[in-house]
Amino acid sequence: MAHFKVENLGISFGGIRAVDNVSFEVKKNSIFSIIGPNGSGKTTIFNMISGIYKPDSGRVVLEGEDMVGLRPDMIARKGIARTFQNIQLFGNATVMDNLMLGRHIHMKTGIIGGAFMWGKWSGTAREEVKNREIVEHIVDFLELQSVRDQFVSSLPYGKRKLVELGRALALEPKVLLLDEPSAGMNTEEKDDLRIWIKDIQEDYQVTILLIEHDMNMVMGISDRILAINQGVEIIEDVPSEVQKHPDVIAAYLGEEE
């Protein structure tokens, strides 16, 4: 049984078939990339997996369980976390609070517990401290120490991307969806990111789905790649095969007249 698979996924917006009959399987703890030109439906696939859009057809299966029809917050509880293409952080909260929100589903404190957090030994405070410890490891891992108490809205773009990655990691997902994590980063930051993604895969035992335009990165770290164009699958194979496929080249570079 495949760890994570998508079967015949499709969605239409009005008369436009944005994604049509896309299927793929992802092995546990591997990196799976989705590539394709702008508007080909990559982010739409992510939105369907994370529950923001409801697909017209098909299934999203994680460890044998169908995710289609669940609300986004329930899907998060099942262990799917994501980042967004155009960074969606909580701008008026600190980096630490943003990361702590990633722990939301692992914590229990409700109104009463939160309101009556008296002193160090209350259950709430202990839960808070325990989760802060986990978050501090992520802060260390992504080298965010210098900005941990700053407001996210005051951070530069590259740092915000990392905070978003950290927030998704804090959720301890089984499957991590990264939507163009390197967009807007310079070469040096991209190299770091590449190492981090590899580390995440190894240290956190996470299955990673990646949408990325940087071909060096995609070809370098992916175990398998899915290429789509206008919502339709072109090929799904190992990087070396995808690179050679004439339709991929055509979609990216245009056809020879």
Binding site: I52, R71, A81, F90, I105, G114, A115, E128, V129
Partner: protein, 356 residues
Amino acid sequence: MDMKRDYYEDIELFSSGTVLFWSVAFLVFLFTLPLYIPSYNIYLFNIIMVHVILAVGLNILVGYTGQISLGHAGFFAIGAYGTALLMIHLHLPFLMALIIAGLISAFFGFIIGLPALRLEGPYLAIATLGFGLTIMHIIGHWDIFGGRMGISTPPLDLGLQNSPYSFVIEGDVKIYYLILVITVLMVVCARNLMRTRVGRAFVAIRDDDIAAEVMGVNLTIFKTMSFALSAFYAGVAGGLYGFVVSFFDPFTFNLILSIVFLVMVVVGGLGSILGAVMGATLITYLQFDLLKNVEELPYMGEILVQFSRKWLTVIGLANFGSVALGLIMLGIVIFEPLGMFGIWIRMKKYWKTWPF
């Protein structure tokens, strides 16, 4: 920068010794206040504290969760009438009646929270505004609520009424201490709550609800929770208010009151407990003291009265208060969007780095 040795230090109520010292000093000041000031001012302080509770609750909804409410006078009314009627008809002890009235108010908050799942911005403002006005008119037309004549509150009895365990509190000073304890408790609870899981979920919903949902925050639960919690605070504030003024009628809880509540939160600072406290204090002081006695201001007073007679209302200054509050709110929104809390932060920064 001070050194931290423990993760708990990040979430401590008093982040440093200095904060602890001044908090204790402030509390001591509040508890000894009746010794220094005349009785009318104690009445004013009672109203201020009631408004502090309400503003803190409203800020949870408006400042932290990013939803708007123009109907908080409705929750305030439910609390006031609920507490008084539970004591008159069911003879409950005061605190029990207060809590039950708060919970009734919270239930109505939950009901209002349901449409809020789909409404945003101006649409939500209209819906809540409608709620506030509806409550006012229902109360006005129903005899059990005393109708348009209003009702007087019964003696404030902390124990069982008409029994050996009766414990009646009378006079502004004693009520002051009762309200002070409740206010401190509720403000500290709100502060705790906003620093833990629930508060973070509220902030997440305010800043980006889609991202919040994708991170596992159940929008239905947390949005309605925010409304219910805010309404609970308003209900408790209303219950206390009834006993401070000892007589009220449906038109006490009019639309202007809802707007004044919102002004308190905006002027104080959205998304800050301290801001709500400061805003409620300032606005209540302005309303009940300064603006009422505006005629007595040297030079300015006479001009303002003339102006008000000519342009605002035939009876003189009745509307001047609302106009002044509107102007203050405009000024804050334009010049200091973070409100008094923003000013406070800048002052702290200035003194920390002084003389540079």
